[in-house]
Symmetry: C2
Subunit: 160 residues, 2 copies
């Protein structure tokens, strides 16, 4: 057999979290999890809400925020902010540690992994007698390609 997909593992993890905490298995929670694990990356609460409504599901903004909190809490979703003042989320299961490279021209988000970063983080923590929990490196950069493939995708982007 194939190993379980990230979505399948996420559903099981949510089952478990819900059971452990004595919460309710509501349809909304599983629908939101499904959308996050199979349809969206780097989304915000608003995007997610619109996406769900667009699929014909009736979920309120409040539930979206509540569920994002729940999923963040049990580690199935990661929260970022990228300096523009509002929050982005992404799924966390089945993904290795990565950071983000942002294009200041078109807003494109490129993920990258750098193995050296972990040791920098550890040594900084040690220096100040702190235990690192998580870190985020965001690089803002401009495109050096004259014909950036992403620029056409989102023509209306402007960085604050």
């Amino acid at each position: 057999m194939y190993p379980p997909s990230p979505l399948e593992r996420a559903i099981r993890a949510l089952d478990e979290h819900i059971a452990r905490k004595g919460l309710r298995r509501t349809e909304e929670r599983y629908e939101i999890l499904r959308a996050i694990y199979s349809e969206l990356t780097h989304f915000n609460a608003e995007t997610l809400h619109r996406h769900l409504i667009g699929k014909g599901l009736r979920v309120s903004r409040a539930t979206v925020y509540n569920t994002l909190d729940l999923l963040t809490e049990c580690g199935l979703v990661k929260r970022y902010s990228f300096g523009s003042g509002y929050t982005l989320y992404e799924r966390s299961l089945g993904r290795r540690q990565h950071d983000h490279l942002l294009c200041v021209e078109c807003g494109h988000i490129q993920e990258f992994c750098d193995p050296q970063l972990g040791s920098i983080v550890e040594s900084v923590g040690a220096l100040f007698q702190m235990r690192p929990i998580r870190h985020e490196l965001v690089i803002h950069a401009e495109c050096t390609q004259p014909e950036c493939p992403h620029r056409r995708e989102s023509a209306t982007f402007a960085e604050k």
Copy 2:
């Protein structure tokens, strides 16, 4: 003679920026610059506004935001966000490149410099054909000292 202080250099840079752009030399702009360069670090717009009012200056919120935009634009102030959804600022002249270590327990912000980080940023940029403009590494960590000196300073802090 002594070399000019960061505040003095900042005032001259603002003079120059204002002259170049044909803007007006208003008292508010210089007062705000002075506060930022001699009285505050890691402040937000709200803090800065209250600080100015506290000094007896009559400045509106709108002016604070406008001026922060102006100063950010001409490179005298840096803008961060640290993931809690709201924006922090700090002066940028007379400071070397540094990043931030945040205590998740008390919210204390520790600055640090790591010389290796720059080369990571450069190599990531090169990999994706991007030219890095700036970067921010934020490390969230917990204190390993039983009696953290900062914990007492801000007893009411709780990370979101």
